[in-house]
């Protein structure tokens, strides 16, 4: 479904990705692991062309290159994106936020409706007329995920989906990810929490200094404590 090979990307002249390789099969959940600042977010931004320039390598989504595509065209091809900083439309109500995504016409996709995302996140239904800016971080995160689902993605990118959330709320977000996995949504999740990885990931990619340094199954990841020590511990 998604195949990234030798990806290089830069903010202005500062190159931050030097060689990312990544593959996602349909229905699969892939976790990106690595310390802060190694390029997990930049990898996701490169896929949706969010204010970062791809300078080398290629990103193939269902056989088509995304590397030169405009951001909204990437989204319309079926990539959903939940950025790290959430960025809900603060002055719009929850319901209005959910109505911003354009309905897709493509036939081959699971279509999400506002009612369905309300089932996934019942709190959003309760707060549907509230301004998004006054909601808590966890609620904004749910709104951000819900909004991305309404673009009817075949592949969902979740950047640090429960960073900075209270443990209980974070758990709810992970529950939603597990639920989405059951629905067959392919996902790329950048993640630090090891128990989340255990709950939802199929495969793991470890990134360090802009390069993919390890990839394999979740079992393989846990079987090799050396990887965790080398790439995740604070040095």
């Amino acid at each position: 479904m998604l195949r990234i090979s030798g990806l290089q990307a830069a903010y202005g002249k500062a190159e931050v990705l030097h060689g990312i390789d990544l593959e996602v099969a349909p229905g699969e959940v892939v976790c990106l692991i690595g310390r802060n600042g190694v390029g997990k977010s930049s990898t996701m931004k490169s896929i949706v062309r969010d204010q970062i320039a791809v300078t080398g390598g290629d990103i193939l989504f269902e056989g088509r290159s995304l590397a030169r595509m405009r951001p909204h065209d990437v989204i319309r091809r079926g990539v959903g994106y939940v950025p790290e900083d959430r960025r809900v439309f603060a002055s719009l109500s929850v319901l209005e936020n959910l109505r911003v995504p354009r309905p897709v016409r493509a036939q081959d996709r699971r279509r999400w409706t506002v009612e369905e995302v309300f089932q996934l996140f019942p709190q959003l239904h309760d707060y549907r007329n509230r301004k998004a800016g006054v909601m808590s971080g966890g609620e904004q995160q749910m709104l951000s995920v819900a909004r991305a689902l309404l673009t009817c993605p075949k592949l969902l990118l979740l950047d640090e989906p429960h960073e900075g959330l209270a443990p209980k709320i974070a758990e709810e977000v992970v529950d939603a990810i597990v639920e989405l996995k059951r629905e067959g949504v392919s996902m790329v999740v950048s993640e630090q929490a090891l128990n989340t990885i255990r709950r939802c990931a199929d495969r793991v990619y470890v990134i360090d200094r802009g390069v993919t340094v390890w990839s394999g199954t979740v079992e393989g990841f846990y079987a090799d404590p050396e990887i965790t020590r080398k790439y995740l511990m604070v040095q």
């Binding site: 949706v48 969010d50 204010q51 405009r70 951001p71 909204h72 989204i75 319309r76 994106y81 950025p83 960025r87 439309f89 603060a90 002055s91 719009l92 209005e96 109505r99 911003v100 995504p101 354009r102 897709v104 800016g133 909004r147 991305a148 309404l150 673009t151």
Partner: protein, 322 residues
């Protein structure tokens, strides 16, 4: 119940539904009928400028696009109408349609250029486009009459009395404002607001940001063109100043006075600005000084303008987005 704030809220909620809008319309019409012709003309001008300021406000408050050249589309509306009569040989009643369409076309051409950039660069491009428009109107003597403009080509106000034309304009402006309100509340309006607030995020939800901004620009130009056309009919003339920097600035001041981030801001701003510019000079020669101090006060003390003040008092009609 006796809390003045809740009372205000109750009064203002009622103001937004027909029970108060209809009496308001009746009151305006009565004022128009009963007052002298000069007041009717003032009322007409206020209504036209309210439409102009609201069209600019659509860009500023909802699209977060600050245009330094919105008068260009007012001018294109006026000249589109005027030239359709003088050059095209159309009857003035028919030419009424040409003005707004000319403005929308101008908005499409200039807008396609301007939305390529954002923020101050966008503003500078709109300024450049407006200055080009102004210069063409000012210099192209053979067609536009240059700095002397075009006059005497029709009976002003389509032959209606001041009062009659004021009624017509009030009705048309009310319809145009209603249309703009519906646009703001429509899915398209939501797209315009989303792109205005966070362009990158709107794109990440599949919106083509530039296209949305261009549509907003053309809509704003079209309604500014209606205002320009009505203004040309009012005076039976068209002058390059209609597309000049002065009117652009007037529009910007009206929006800030009335209240950014509120639909009603443009309307309030036009009313307050016109009242000030008409009545303050009767008492003080330096009316610009008064305006300057007022703007200073508003920017510092109540950045959401008059509509923001009303919102703080609980008036929903003044309520907009932060």
């Amino acid at each position: 119940m006796t809390d003045p704030k809740t009372l205000w809220a109750a009064v203002s909620r009622a103001a937004l539904n027909w029970k108060l809008l209809v009496p308001l319309a009746v009151a305006l019409e009565l004022f128009n009928r009963l007052s002298p012709a000069s007041s009717s003309t003032l009322l007409t001008e206020v209504a036209i400028l309210a439409l102009f300021a609201t069209s600019l406000n659509l860009l500023m408050s909802f699209g977060h696009m600050v245009s330094f050249g919105h008068a260009a589309y007012f001018g294109l509306g006026a000249y589109g109408f005027t030239l359709a009569v003088t050059r095209g040989g159309l009857a003035p009643e028919m030419a009424l349609l040409v003005g707004p369409l000319a403005a929308a076309l101008g908005g499409l051409v200039f807008g396609a250029l301007c939305v390529r950039l954002t923020e101050i660069y966008f503003a500078m491009l709109t300024l450049a486009c407006a200055q080009i428009t102004y210069t063409v109107l000012f210099q192209w003597y053979d067609v536009t009459g240059g700095d002397t403009g075009i006059t005497g080509f029709m009976i002003p106000r389509l032959g209606l009395s001041e009062t009659g034309y004021a009624s017509l304009v009030l009705g048309l402006v009310a319809l145009a404002l209603l249309a703009l309100w519906m646009i703001v509340k429509s899915p398209l309006g939501l797209m315009i607001r989303a792109v205005g607030q966070d362009r990158a995020r709107a794109e990440a939800l599949g919106l083509a940001a530039r296209r949305v901004q261009l549509v907003a620009f053309v809509i704003a130009a079209f309604f500014a063109g209606i205002a320009g056309t009505l203004y040309a009919v009012l005076h039976g003339s068209a002058f390059p100043d209609y597309a000049g920097l002065g009117l652009t600035l007037d529009g910007l001041i009206m929006v800030v006075l009335g209240g950014l981030n509120s639909f009603a801001g443009g309307i309030w701003g036009a009313v307050i600005y016109e009242m000030l510019s008409n009545f303050v000079p009767k008492f003080i020669h330096q009316w610009e000084l008064v305006l300057g101090l007022l703007l200073l006060g508003i920017c510092l003390a109540m950045p959401h303008g008059f509509a923001g003040l009303l919102a703080r008092l609980g008036w929903r009609g003044g309520k907009g987005e932060k």
